[in-house]
Assembly symmetry: C2
Homo-oligomer: 255 residues x 2
């Protein structure tokens, strides 16, 4: 059993809790996933990058639902205001702005039909199940756990940098414009993560609260890891695209 | 696009609706899944059969939650009584009886530690996400869709027969006693499926209702298929066990 899987025996200081959260990220965040490494090392073909962008769109599209569910549960107007910035980041101030629109610039650039992407009907069922698990988690668990589950953003800058530089270097079908999604995330994610980390270390003082926070971050790492597992199984290993998913041989509309 | 994925254009007769449901099962049910074929053809090793039984335990354990959620939403006492038989099948009349207990005879027989199995803490995250998606579906969708999502039982007898005979033939670590779960299912599943099919064909008359019923069965086939995809990726392809799951090399308590 990994250290990070062992139950806590006594409450940790704020510093020790943060260290343990960072250790979970080091071991469980998807920067270690084989599919992520293949993506940034130029080992995927165009179809595989398309499949990644298509499926990840569903995650991007559901993030504002997740954040709005959380805001709906917060009693403190100041905290609601802070969290509201995430809605702005993803939905923008006007049509064509925000993270979801920028993600569609990527899927456009990869030659995927925008209506097919937005419909989400050709994503892997495993993508939908994992993302929906995150939505349900934020709706149903405590506010502390819901906020803690966002702490994967502590680790996203390290993967975004490598992903963008690796994709630009290796793939001639990818341009800086089509990767416009990632640039703002390099400042948004640390701001969001600092705020969530501050909340968590101030509010998780008891043993059971700290355990719940650690488990919430492990859960969220699993949500991300499982999405890449499903992509890897369906589109790297030959012959495993599930029925009805994009690029299934029985299907005809794979734009 | 498969025929079964094309939207309905006009309402079907009850017979045509049933035929279409059966066609979905023929194309999407997990009797076609490579992992299922390997299981019944004796191509898995003991560790892979253990992983299957461990993960499938979570599905078995959650079924009464799913059925109780549905009963809680039914207005008709007669229908609640009929559906209650599913609770009896899975939970039994007394300690040690019912489908969940019989599934634990299988995991016992395969040498898995019962406490570890019952804790479900070493299952694949993808198993949990897929099964929980089914639970949420039954809680949140219409009663008609919830009942339709149970229609995979129409197809289970065909897979149970092959699974039991194949496993007994090929695996010396499996006995008829450890497969006791399956025998009652050969009569329970058709009884349950007939009842659900009767309800669905009587209540789904409008185009939108029939489309929802077909989509519910596709959803449920995806729930089952995704579980086998995750097992296949983690335990057949080498080196893909996700962090923290049973048989992860970083973990020490793999009984």
């Amino acid at each position: 059993m990994n250290d990070i899987d062992a139950p806590l025996r006594e409450p940790l200081s704020a510093e020790a809790l943060e260290a343990r959260l960072r250790s979970i990220g080091e071991q469980r965040y998807h920067h270690r996933h084989p599919f992520q490494l293949m993506l940034q090392n130029g080992e995927l073909d165009r179809r595989q990058v398309q499949a990644w962008a298509l499926n990840r769109y569903y995650y991007q599209a559901m993030i504002p639902h997740k954040d709005a569910s959380l805001i709906a549960r917060l009693d403190d107007p100041a905290l609601r205001r802070e969290w509201r910035s995430r809605l702005v980041d993803h939905d923008g101030e006007a049509e064509g702005e925000g993270g979801i629109s920028r993600w569609l610039m990527l899927t456009d650039g990869l030659g995927l039909d925008r209506d097919m992407v937005v419909s989400t009907r050709r994503i892997l069922p495993a993508t939908r199940f994992a993302v929906d698990a995150y939505i349900h988690f934020v709706r149903e668990r405590s506010v502390l756990e819901a906020i803690a589950s966002s702490l994967t953003e502590l680790f996203s800058p390290m993967v975004i940098g490598q992903r963008v530089s690796g994709m630009l270097k290796h793939y001639d079908f990818v341009s800086a414009e089509t990767l416009a999604y990632f640039e703002p995330r390099l400042t948004q994610a640390p701001r969001d993560a600092d705020m969530a980390l501050d909340y968590v270390t101030r509010h998780a003082r008891r043993l059971d609260q700290q355990q719940a926070v650690l488990d919430a971050l492990i859960f969220k790492c699993n949500v991300l890891w499982t999405q890449l597992d499903a992509l890897h199984h369906a589109y790297v290993a030959p012959g495993h695209v599930p029925p009805g998913a994009w690029s299934d041989k029985g299907a005809a509309d794979d734009r």
